[in-house]
Symmetry: C2
Amino acid sequence: MDKMIGKRSVQFEVPPCIIGAASVAGEKEGAGKFGKYFDIVEEDPLFGGKTWEEAESKMQHMAADIAIRNAGLESEDIRYIVAGDLLGQLIATSFGIMNLNIPMFGVYGACSTMGESMAIGSMLVEGGFAEYIVAMTSSHFASAEKQFRFPLAYGNQRPYSATWTVTGSGAVVIGRGDGKWKRKETDYVCIRGITTGVITDYGIKDSMNMGACMAPAACDCILNNFKDFGVEPDYYDKIITGDLGTIGQRILKDMLLGYGYDISKQHMDCGTEIYYNEEQDTHAGGSGCGCSAITLTGYILKKMRKHAWRRVLFVPTGALLSTVSFNEGNSVPGIAHGVMLECV
Amino acid sequence: MDKMIGKRSVQFEVPPCIIGAASVAGEKEGAGKFGKYFDIVEEDPLFGGKTWEEAESKMQHMAADIAIRNAGLESEDIRYIVAGDLLGQLIATSFGIMNLNIPMFGVYGACSTMGESMAIGSMLVEGGFAEYIVAMTSSHFASAEKQFRFPLAYGNQRPYSATWTVTGSGAVVIGRGDGKWKRKETDYVCIRGITTGVITDYGIKDSMNMGACMAPAACDCILNNFKDFGVEPDYYDKIITGDLGTIGQRILKDMLLGYGYDISKQHMDCGTEIYYNEEQDTHAGGSGCGCSAITLTGYILKKMRKHAWRRVLFVPTGALLSTVSFNEGNSVPGIAHGVMLECV
């Protein structure tokens, strides 16, 4: 069987399995819709650290630890860690995983990082280069605001199109589909295939409307997934995008309708769902690498293990926003990485 | 055959080949020791762009274009591009490769990025997930100074331990070892294996002495390569580190001597060699993702194709420097990615 399918997708011969997962979330996320599903909800926004960046590092360390233990493994069993975050030079990741002493591939896909790290990680496992890998990412509201927008103390007004960066870190351990890992009672979710995104730029220049920047990338990735695998939307029980928010979600649905696909029955957006937007004052919803990551590891995987959903197309979306390019008058391009999840 | 060898290495069954390469360099690099080997030496530091970041993007676009043509391919033939740069949110890469419309994995390994992208890329090819991939990176003196240190116009003094960020972009096209690509008269270089680094932190806090931050990571990567493959330094004709510079290079040799390995006969450091340090006032040497990338694609591969060297361990080194973590009083951790190059 050819593993390459269509123009942009991979179909695994022996689909790798998600054998461990962890979700570490902040207090606001704990009070949101998926609060009860997270492994850890920490009330201290600094996670016991001295800076926001250190807080984010601590989240990643916790998430990796829990996911590895959840898989019944030790950190020495992990061949590679594929991880990244939103901060310049991936400092949350570098400082977070340093003590684990695991060979590392740093990745950056903005808020699509969970999809990117799972895509690379599952190929490394299925290609025979690793028995187990950890794919991980994080974001923190305060470190992201500092990196991309305004200092918190400045108290700027946020337009209704703005999203709220999720404080959270999600990690999964991926193992070979025919591996020797200890199978537990619960059912497993495997990665059937992936569809990798291209950089998509519709010229949006509004950093307070990231949903509009990312919707075309999500549309492109989903379309190519349908085409490459020859499937229709109803092949999936759910098509779950990362953090388009309420506005980006509408754009995505409209765009796909233009191509003849109606995904309104299957579609869910982690960003739109993760908070109670009205009560929690989160405007267009949640965003950040952590948004899709903890929704996956906290909520989606649990739903799938209970067979509420058997086939899910998970499409984390990233807006490649940089303050430097943005201040130089450039647009904010987007990218999306599709991961096909299936109950074993 | 097991592809996993030792604790941190991969040994390819069918070693992927480097079937195309490109080196785009700035004027200062063109006047350096390897000047005559580069495909393009551009006198305009802005590369016809309006900003330093745009200049760097243009370099990446040029490098990708030339490498793909050099391989006798079109951009549609490339399954993935694995690339990154030093700038926050990888803007040089995102904007540089956008028009190529190739599925992209963004990576960040600081100045070790060429090693990281080649490692991931060669696994994707050998694992059967791609016929051809492009691995690429870049750095630009002016965009890097702006990102990490002082505005150029400030004219700060540079200590003798400081290195000079190379303006350049290097790209390789990697194809299957048994692929159907058109073989040319010249000999080819294949990737026999890889050794992936862990994050190494000896507590160095001097951003003007990056060599000292990276030397322990290089040492760790080289040691593990020797151990995993059961070889001694003289297995290689050359062991080539990325950008340790004159100071880091001394530390590396001393550290390895402490472990019983003398690499002084084989060792070369791209950073130490790329400029005429005295005449060009580059102090401890060159650095940046572009340093090892253009030395590889301009100089090393050409030496290997002429069989001057048959076996090279290429070890780009990265200092995970961030202005944020640095200003918060943190150390600068390092990472190194080893790639085993061999004449076919």
